[in-house]
């Protein structure tokens, strides 16, 4: 008998648009010691499945039908009281963000011992011994000394280990891990995944691993199910599903995953999710003409668009009336060069200083030292840049979080046309409106978007709007700071395609900043690597990915989840067409 057996599970939510099915007829069978990956894009209902198993559906959620059996025992009709008795004892959970999933006011020991005492009949002294051995088991070094510490004294990766120890306190049969490594850096992610794998095998615990990340699925799961809009698309052995997906949606999903091993010219667009073409092509064409008619467009200006030398940026952090503030040197003596029409990928882990470089380039952060030339002309870097400097129009930026980069109180039309009006790029209101709709058409948005507010659009659509706003300024250089990190993988593929198209058509230079090596590979002609504020390596992209010179670059590449289990996108594309 399977440890967990879900059949035909349906969950609904009461919303202001009436009742919505979040999960519709989902099924799953999970054995002890098995890791099952539940993969899907945002809104697919994967977290809802996890919450339903725990009996912790958020407000308005309700199980409509189906069955969830744990060791043959039906959970769906349990009373709240019985379900609570089951939680922790038989089923446990690992949350996404280790920063917020531990109580900040209690020591690790207090939280562990409390959980052990709740579920076992051990004495307090025995419970303490048990807590210590659990910490050792999840790989906390010097556990005896650290057990009395508070959560804030641990790093992110260590905290996630503590969370895992807490989930193991009661020796559960089943663990639900909801995006357990999404908040962690790649290097730490690899270790935590290895730990989950080891514990599942050793203790015979079934793990339901919920994630959006194909890399994580490929790395540790035995079986996988793909969810879309609450419905099961495909399920089976991980190797089979990733290597030879049978459903069109899983094929397109897998084809959308950028590979670190190879560069594709365009991501194959297999699903129906792409922007509508054809009907609005006349509008888009007009937009393209407008962009190409800009003074200095095309190849009139040659050579380096950006030449940055010796950039250093520091911040003051903390400090007050009686305390010395610390000076943090975020960027140290960095030089970069970017040619017209070229894409430079800037990679590094969080905190390496790559975003700071972007902010110094656009003049938001003042630099302490450095010289910047833009088309050979010096541009202020260490002092405030003039408000009417032409570079303010020609250098545009695309931000990571499309939910924060658009003013939620403005209509999309006003957002996109703001640069037009501010830089005086149009003669009158009618021309501004025409250019705005054509810019939106160019990024694949309908013209009726101008009358709507940003909250009426999804993340990917918002990012398109942000790109339209950048284009409306008729830029020569786009700085993209993690432009797709907040997006689903299929949407990421569309946005990356869009950026490539725009670059090809209008000859823009792009500074592409990302922590994601596979994504950077798809986009870049050259790559520069940052570590702790220092530029450690720079060179042509192909050479870099084949044989990185610096140790740190090698480490980064090695830690990136291997995707060689995944089917080749071009083969998938060929299959679908056929």
């Amino acid at each position: 008998m399977a440890l967990l057996d879900i059949q035909d599970l349906s969950v609904s939510f009461e919303t202001r648009f009436g009742k919505q099915m979040a999960v519709d007829g989902y099924g799953l069978s999970l054995e002890r010691g098995e890791i099952h990956g539940l993969v899907g894009e945002s809104g697919a209902g994967k977290s809802t499945v996890g919450a339903a198993i725990l009996g912790l559906l958020p407000g308005g959620g309700q199980i409509e039908g189906g069955s969830i059996r744990l060791d043959g025992r039906e959970l769906v009709d349990l009373s709240q009281r019985d379900w609570h008795r089951l939680r922790g004892a038989k089923i446990s959970m690992i949350f996404q963000d280790p920063q917020t999933s531990l109580n900040p006011l209690l020591t690790i020991e207090e939280q562990l011992v409390e959980t052990i005492l709740t579920h076992t009949k051990l004495s307090e002294a025995k419970a303490k011994t048990r807590a210590l051995s659990l910490l050792e088991e999840v790989g906390i070094r010097d556990a005896a000394a650290r057990i009395a510490d508070y959560p804030h004294q641990f790093s992110g990766g260590m905290r996630q280990r503590v969370v895992i120890a807490l989930a193991l306190c009661s020796e559960p049969d089943l663990i639900i891990a909801d995006e357990p490594t999404t908040a962690l850096d790649v290097a730490v992610q690899k270790q935590v995944l290895a730990l989950i794998r080891r514990l599942a095998t050793k203790r015979g615990v079934g793990v339901l691993l919920i994630t959006h990340d194909m890399g994580v699925i490929a790395e540790i799961t035995d079986t996988v199910s793909v969810l879309r809009d609450g419905r099961l698309v495909e399920a089976g052995e991980t190797n089979r599903v990733l290597g030879a997906p049978s459903a069109p949606y899983s094929r397109s999903l897998i084809a959308s995953v950028p590979r670190v091993e190879k560069k594709v010219a365009r991501f194959p667009q297999l699903s129906d999710a792409g922007p509508r073409r054809g009907a609005r092509s006349d509008l888009a064409q007009r937009g393209a003409e407008w962009l190409l008619s800009r003074p200095g467009a095309g190849s009139k200006r040659e050579g380096d668009i950006l030449d940055l030398q010796g950039l250093s940026v520091s911040f003051r952090s903390g400090g007050g009336l009686f305390r010395q503030s610390r000076v943090v040197r975020a960027v140290k003596d960095v030089g970069l060069r970017l040619a017209v029409g070229e894409t430079l990928g800037l990679v590094g882990e969080s905190g390496s200083g790559k975003s700071t470089i972007a902010k110094a380039l656009v003049g938001v952060h003042k630099a302490q030292a450095g010289a910047l030339r833009y088309f050979g002309r010096p541009l202020a870097l260490t002092e405030k840049r003039p408000a009417r400097d032409p570079s303010r129009r020609e250098i545009q930026m695309i931000f990571q979080d499309p939910y924060s980069s658009l003013n939620n109180r403005w209509k999309v039309g006003a957002i996109v046309s703001e640069p037009l009006r501010f830089h005086g790029l149009c003669k009158n209101r009618r021309e501004a409106a025409a250019i705005t709709t054509s810019m939106l058409a160019l990024v694949g948005m309908d013209p009726d978007a101008v009358g709507k507010y940003p909250h009426q659009f999804s993340g990917g659509q918002r990012q398109r709007i942000a790109i339209a706003r950048a284009l409306a300024a008729r830029p020569a250089l786009m700085i993209c700071d993690e432009p797709t990190s907040a997006l689903d993988v299929s949407v990421q593929a569309q946005i990356l395609n869009l950026l490539k198209d725009i670059q090809d058509r209008f000859g823009l230079a792009i500074l592409f900043i990302s922590h994601d090596l596979p994504v950077v590979r798809q986009m870049s002609d050259r790559v520069a690597v940052m570590q702790n504020g220092v530029l450690v390596e720079e060179g042509a992209a192909d050479a870099f990915y084949k044989s990185p010179r610096h140790d740190y670059s090698r480490m980064l590449l090695a830690q990136t989840p291997s995707l060689d289990k995944l089917a080749d996108p071009q083969i998938l594309a060929a299959q679908t067409v056929a």
């Binding site: 408000a387 545009q396 931000f399 924060s404 980069s405 659009f457």
Partner: protein, 320 residues
């Protein structure tokens, strides 16, 4: 994507829905409002009391400020339904023979006027200073926030009492009555601006770090325009909540000051003044003189607080 799809399905079914449900679909706030009976009761009461006070000259049976309209012979009559009551005076009369209902309507009018004006003053002053402090930073920020600290050390009612006391000391007594209402507005406004300044500053600092503000900065938009056209609309929600909650506080403060006898002059009796007059008659059994103005005051404030509670919950993104 899933959410988008379902929104489209929702749109397709829209035709079959009632008018109210349709409004609910248009706006999140309207949807929540229509599902919250307390909020609807609050809105109804607010509209009723606002209407009654604004149109007091037309609604009220008599003009309580008109000396010729009342007669000492009618003084201290109980409500119409009690023994000895007269139909002319639904809620009875006070010690001067004035109709209580009219006095309450006119009194509430003064309460609403002072409450509304002082809160508008506090909001404009506080939001302006808070936004400027957030954006200019440096010494200006320091000065504003330290003044706010000092203001916090002095509870609102003390500030209002003090300003009132100073006004008594400084103003010549003949202009005193005439200037009392502006002084009250100033006093209450000055005692409540800190709420707005701190809120506006804190919210503006949060918004300032968001990318849409950075985008505007990169473009070269001047700071004051970023503040007014980008940040202000985005912090309007929380400000509206405090505006509502503090309106209730302002009305209570005015009533308290008038009750203590330092508020509006007696010939322009607000609800607080009426209650003060009424307390003298509690021991002799004429309970209605204090009770009805109290009820009117409490109902009015409850109405505003119901709305404030609703807005606070509805506009708090953490709750959803």
């Amino acid at each position: 994507m899933a959410i988008e799809d379902s929104a489209d399905q929702g749109a397709a079914k829209r035709e079959t829905l009632s008018l109210w449900r349709r409004i609910g679909r248009r706006s999140e706030l309207a949807y929540l409002f229509l599902r919250s009976p307390p909020a609807m009761i609050g809105a109804l009461l607010t509209v009723l009391s606002l209407g009654a006070t604004l149109f007091a000259p037309w609604v009220a049976p008599t003009d309580p400020f008109d000396l010729a309209a009342y007669d000492l012979l009618d003084s201290l009559l109980p409500p119409a339904w009690a023994a000895g009551g007269e139909a002319r005076f639904l809620l009875g009369t006070d010690d001067q023979g004035r109709d209580m209902l009219s006095a309450i309507l006119y009194g509430a009018r003064i309460s609403v006027l002072i409450g509304g004006a002082s809160i508008a003053f506090a909001a404009i002053l506080g939001v302006t200073l808070g936004l400027a402090a957030a954006y200019l930073g440096g010494w200006f920020d320091h000065v504003v926030m330290r003044i706010a600290d000092v203001q916090l050390a002095l509870p609102a009612i003390l500030t209002a009492l003090l300003i009132d006391g100073v006004a008594r000391g400084v103003l010549p007594s003949e202009s005193h009555d005439r200037l009392m209402i502006p002084v009250l507005i100033l006093a209450i406004g000055l005692s409540l601006w800190v709420d707005f300044a701190r809120l506006a500053r804190a919210s503006a600092l949060v918004e300032r770090d968001k990318d849409y503000v950075q985008a505007a900065e990169i473009m070269g938009l001047p700071a004051w325009r970023i503040m007014l056209s980008h940040i202000l609309p985005n912090i309007a929600g929380p400000i509206l909540v405090v505006l509502t909650i503090d309106l209730a506080v302002a009305i209570l403060l005015e009533a308290t000051l008038s009750f203590l006898g330092v508020g509006v002059p007696a010939d322009q009796a607000s609800l607080g003044t009426l209650i003060r007059i009424g307390t003298a008659y509690i021991f002799s059994g004429e309970w209605w003189i204090a009770l009805f103005p109290s009820l009117a005051l409490v109902l009015m404030v409850i109405a505003v607080n119901l709305l404030g509670d609703f807005l606070r919950d509805a506009l708090n993104p953490k709750l959803r």
